[in-house]
Amino acid sequence: MTAVDPTSLANSSPHPVALREKVVQLEGVSKVFGSKLAVDDMNLDIYAGEVFAFLGPNGAGKTTTIKLMTGLLKPMKGKITVAGYDMSSNSVEARRNISFVPDQPHLYEKLTARDFLDFTRNIYGIDGPESRRYQEELIDTFGIRGFCDDLIETYSHGMRQRVVFASALLHRPKVLVLDEPMVGLDPKNMRIVKDLMRETAARGSAVFMSTHTLSIAEEVADRVGIIRQGRLIRCGTLAELQTERTGGKTLEDFFLEVTDEGTT
């Protein structure tokens, strides 16, 4: 396996979405934790209407990249743009266009799902009959109606995830970022989330998903990025990666091979 120039990966064309709007751009982004280089000169473009799967072993820098992308952390070097807004200089507008669903999402235990969605609408400054109608639509979409007036503290993990997804879509973000979205979900809820990702992308938003579940990536992703030790080592469509997967290798074999510590 030969080393790959990370700058060439950002636009690993041709791919089906190359001509679409770039909704997230990471340009030479680096982040250091103490003496550890968590993200190293990352260049990555995410396009409107695609599902992007971000793969990497534990501690590779996936969550740090996501936190940089969502504005929780600031890059030591480089620039991040979301929907055309610079995350450093215009972070409020950038955050208006992005939603993040963490693997362990925070919810206010003493609120009901409806309270939580009302709160989200207020925070994003979306009010009026249209947004309320859309809220009701999301309540039905995610099957929340049956328990939306109960306190969140009584919900199961799956119920919580559905509330979080509904709130993440309420302000119609251009980018939906999901960190390990399938963790702890039953097959039915996993199906709901997969459909949600495909539908959200089909409506024109980008979905950026970090996951360890390679089969999910194969199933729903348009493009896949692989990160190791903070560097994006592979990026492209599944078909592009297929060209490297010689000898009947599965995506899992390929992933293990390229993320192996001794491999460059």
Binding site: K36, K74, R172, T200
Partner: protein, 600 residues
């Protein structure tokens, strides 16, 4: 799954009615606060109306008890014409200066957790909320948590002072705005300090906190040492008091908010002092608001960067696993099973590796130790049996109160915090009751070390007789066991399993009940043990022929004979031991039962 509408721009609101983004965010956060509060009260009330009512009744009872204590104290001072302007101003100044320091520290600690370490901060920062909006939201919460005790302690004191001095109605009306303005100022300063630490020294924050604590204790110690040196020449109590008053005026320097509030409240208590009082209120309020606005402005500009610095700081600092700790625990806690000792070692390690926790213990214990070690200078106390006894038990009471604050803050939340990680202990081959007794041993062990040292120092400085020293040590042992039993038992019976912040767990229903029960227990033990000694000390006071007996209006019939003293002392000791056993085993019993029945 039904389909989702297409991504399309939301209808715009009419320009003239459209609130600003900051207003929208604030409305959202206000809605969040109101609904959370409402649902919390509803669920608490619906969960157990009896529990809710007990909490209210206990709070009223506690407030009333404090009021009576303060009222008696102020009446005594008033009766003996001791309430003079400068002295009472000094006392108020010292009280508020201490609160000032405590509020700065407690608000900083709560805000650091809330703004830099919590999941909620992460959640809010992901939203398009201005940084000062997030700060304001969390600041309100931190202020409520850090100053409720201040209101609970301060309000009965002020009402008692007002009534005992016949203060006009506006004294009571102005009390609340004074308290709120006063609390806002140290809160804002603490918040600013927290932000600057997080932004510019995230790796050294613990060291800086320790350094601050050391500086505070050093300042207090230097004042007392200077007082000690200057008062070596002062042979009379009056001269000594004058010297001490002179030295302690640092708490009443003109630029300190503690002076503004003490002068303002005192002015309000005079018939013609309203305008003066309003002046001080305006000084306090304007400074508090200016401090708050400045802090909010700094947060607007630095909070996100500070959050990034804290989260980007490498936290994987290595710790050497000590071998001496298990060795000490093994020898100190003979009779406990191996797994309980393992739990003890774990608890000691967790506690010792969190300076924000033990720092508070060090500050207050240090201040108390300094105070005790200076008692010898009071010639009056060292010669008068009456005062020696009174002051000795007063010191035991202060130490006990400090202990109840420690157990409420550190021991009570242990079971709630353990409950969240119960899969670790729940699967271990150890009974649930053993886990609880392990916590109990941890609490008693720590409490005995701190309180017995303080009691011995106090007794030595007051030159107490061996009998009195033994009695006070016995009282302290009973208190340590009882208060630990209450904290561990109630902690298991009323856990707050969803809460991760120990200070919030301590200020919930169970925490408040624990604190009140502990205080009532301490008051009972000390009153029972002190009463026969107090009566006998009156007899000794008359026998020694000191002037204090005449000054204090002690009559020959006031005291009791030695035989009576022996009898009543035996009765009081038996009562205290019995109540101590009940306070230890009854809460532990209900705690163990609740813990064994609880499903995690």
């Amino acid at each position: 799954m039904t389909t989702i509408s297409e991504i399309r721009p939301l209808p715009q609101m009419r320009e003239e009615t459209k609130p600003t983004h900051a207003e929208q965010c604030w409305n959202g956060l206000r809605l969040l606060r109101i609904r959370t509060l409402l649902h919390t009260i509803q669920s608490k009330f619906a969960g157990s109306q009896l529990r809710f009512m007990i909490a209210i009744v206990c709070s009223i009872f506690f407030w009333g008890g404090l009021f009576i204590v303060f009222y008696d104290g102020f009446s005594f001072l008033e009766q003996h014409r001791l309430i003079t302007g400068p002295l009472i101003e000094l006392l108020f100044g010292m009280f508020f200066a201490s609160l000032l320091v405590m509020l700065v520290f407690s608000t900083s600690i709560i805000l650091y957790g809330g703004l830099f370490r919590s999941d909620e901060a992460e959640f809010l920062l992901l939203r398009p909320i201005p940084a000062d909006g997030i700060f304001a939201f969390k600041f309100q919460e931190a202020m409520a948590f850090s100053s409720w005790g201040f209101l609970l302690l301060g309000s009965p004191m002020m009402v008692a002072y007002g009534i005992s001095t016949g203060a006009p109605w506006w004294f009571y009306v102005l009390g609340l705005p004074y308290f709120l303005s006063f609390a806002l100022l140290p809160g804002a300063i603490g918040a600013l300090g927290t932000l600057l630490l997080a932004r510019y020294a995230p790796q050294s924050r613990k060291r800086i906190m320790i350094l601050s604590a050391v500086i505070i204790v050093t300042i207090a110690a230097s004042i007392l040492v200077r007082t000690y040196l200057l008062s070596r020449e002062s042979v009379t109590a009056e001269r000594w008091v004058d010297t001490v008053v002179g030295q302690l005026r640092i708490s009443n320097l003109p630029f300190l908010p503690s002076q503004w509030i003490s002068r303002g409240l005192l002015a309000a208590s005079y018939e013609h002092g309203l305008s003066d009082s309003l002046f001080y209120l305006m000084v306090l309020l304007s400074n508090a608001l200016a401090a708050y606005l400045f802090t909010a402005w700094v947060y607007r500009n630095l909070y996100r960067a500070a959050f990034d610095h804290v989260r980007s700081t490498a936290s994987a600092r290595r710790r050497k696993s000590t071998t001496w700790l298990p060795w000490i625990v093994d020898r100190l806690f003979i009779g406990f099973s191996g797994p309980v000792k393992v739990l003890l070692v774990k608890d000691v390690r967790v506690f010792s590796r969190d300076p924000l926790q033990w720092l508070q213990v060090v500050i207050f214990t240090g201040l108390l130790a300094i105070y005790f070690s200076n008692l010898q200078r009071v010639t009056l106390f060292s010669t008068s049996p009456y005062w020696r006894n009174l002051l000795g038990f007063f010191n035991v009471a202060v130490t006990g109160l400090l202990l109840s604050a420690y157990t409420s803050r550190f021991i009570f939340p242990l079971m709630s915090l353990e409950g969240q990680k119960f899969w670790i202990l729940g699967l271990a081959p150890i009974s649930r009751s053993a886990i609880l007794w392990g916590k109990f041993a941890f609490s008693v062990g720590g409490a005995l070390v701190v309180t017995i040292i303080l009691t011995v120092v106090s007794a030595y400085m007051l030159q107490l007789e061996p009998l009195l020293v033994s009695l006070q040590i016995l009282a302290m042992i009973i208190i340590c066991f009882g208060v630990s039993g209450i904290a561990v038992g109630f902690g298991a019976r009323f856990p707050e399993l969803g809460e991760t912040d120990p200070s919030k767990i301590a200020s919930g229903f169970g925490g408040t009940l624990n604190l009140i029960t502990s205080l009532l227990f301490i008051m009972f033990v000390i009153a029972t043990m002190a009463l026969p000694c107090h009566l006998y000390s009156m007899t000794l006071e008359i026998e020694t022929g000191l002037n204090t007996a005449r000054d204090l209006n002690i009559k020959e019939t006031s005291g009791i004979s030695f035989e009576q003293f022996r009898f009543w002392l035996s009765v009081s000791m038996a009562c205290s031991v019995a109540v101590g056993l009940i306070a230890t085993f009854w809460p532990m019993k209900i705690g163990v039962r609740a813990f064994e029945e609880r499903e995690f």
